[in-house]
Point group: C2
Chain length 161, copies 2
DNA sequence: TATTAATAGTTATTTCACATAACCATTAAG
DNA sequence: CTTAATGGTTATGTGAAATAACTATTAATA
C-alpha cells in the first residue's frame, strides 16, 4: 500500500486555516468579494492611469458639469482636503478644469475637458466590460437581488451616520 | 402669490449630484454598502480596543490555535510584514502568545491566552448583534442570496489572481 | 454699517491598511 | 557542504481616509 504521497515531510502540518467564525458575518463576505472587485478595477483602470478615486471623481464631474468641490466631496463621501490632490491630478492632466464661479468667488465650478470626457467614456466602457466578466456567474435575478440588498444596507447606514 | 420660499438666495443651485453612471456598477454598490458595514464594525470594536485587523487576527488565532504567522498572513490576505505589528499589539496586550515551535525553530505557534479568548468571544457576540441590527431589513432568503453571490464573486477572483 | 459667523478651498499632518525590499536565523535540497 | 528556500523581522513607501488650522470670500447680526 502506497503511503499517500507523504504529504508533509516537513512538520508543517498543512492544516487548512479555518475562518468559520468570520464566515458567519456578511461583512466578511463583503470585504472578500469587494477585494476581488477592487483588484480587478485597479487593473482595469491602470491603462488609463486612473485610480479608483480619480476615476469616480472624473465620472461624477462628467455627469454633473459645473458642480463645486464641496458637492463632489460630499457625493464621494470624502473630506474636502482629500479631494484637492485628486483634482490637482486631474487638472494637471487637463482632464478637468476648475473655473471660478462669478457669483461666488470662493467656489470653483468643475467641468471635464473634451479629453476628460473621452477618457471617461473609454474607462467606463472598460470597467463595464470587466465587471460583466467578473459577474458572469450570476444570473440577472441574482444580480438584481444583490444590488437591492446592498442598497438597503447602504441606506440603513445613512440613518445612524 | 408667494414666491416658493426663495429656495436659494445664493446662486448655489442645490442641484442634486447624480451618480447614475456609477450606480450602474455593482462594485460601486458594494463599496458603498461595505463602507456602512465597516463603519459600524469599527464603532462596535472600539470598546474592545480592537481594529478590524486585530479583531480578525484574534478570531482566526482562537479558531486555529497553534497556527504560524505565515499561515495567518495567508488567511488574512495580507503580507507577513504587516502581520508583525498586529501581533505585536495583540501580544503586548497579552491576548495572544508567540511560542517557539520546537520542531522548527524559525516559526512561532500562535495561541490565544484565556484573556484573548474571552475578549474574542465578547467581541464576536457584539459584532453579531450589530450585524443583525444592520441587516434587519433583509429577510433570510435575501441574506442567503447575498452571501452566495458574494462568495461566487470572491471565488471568481481566486482563479485570475 | 461694522463686526461676527459661516463657507469654499487649501495646506500640513496623522492614521490605517496594505505592499516591497532587504535582512537574519534556520531548515531543506543539491 | 554549499546553496535554496522558509519564517519572521525591520525599514520604507503608497493610497485612502481623517483632523486642524489657515486664507479668501460671502452671509448674518447687532
Amino acid at each position: 500500500m502506497k503511503k499517500p504521497a507523504q504529504t508533509s515531510a516537513t512538520t508543517t502540518d498543512i492544516l487548512m486555516v479555518s475562518d468559520a467564525t468570520l464566515r458567519g458575518f456578511v461583512g466578511y463576505h463583503m470585504k472578500r468579494a469587494f477585494n476581488v472587485v477592487q483588484a480587478d478595477l485597479v487593473r482595469t483602470l491602470q491603462p488609463f492611469e486612473l485610480r479608483m478615486l480619480t476615476y469616480s471623481a472624473l465620472v461624477l464631474i462628467v455627469d454633473n458639469p459645473g458642480l463645486r468641490q464641496s458637492q463632489l466631496a460630499d457625493a464621494m463621501d470624502i473630506e474636502r482636503p482629500n479631494l484637492v490632490v485628486i483634482l490637482d491630478e486631474l487638472e494637471g492632466r487637463e482632464l478637468v478644469s476648475r473655473d471660478r464661479v462669478p457669483t461666488d468667488r470662493r467656489a470653483y465650478a468643475l467641468t471635464a475637458t473634451p479629453a476628460g470626457q473621452l477618457l471617461c467614456k473609454r474607462a467606463v466602457a472598460a470597467v463595464e466590460a470587466h465587471e460583466r466578466a467578473l459577474l458572469s456567474g450570476l444570473d440577472d435575478a441574482t444580480r438584481a437581488t444583490l444590488v437591492a440588498a446592498l442598497s438597503k444596507i447602504e441606506k440603513s447606514g445613512k440613518s445612524r451616520a
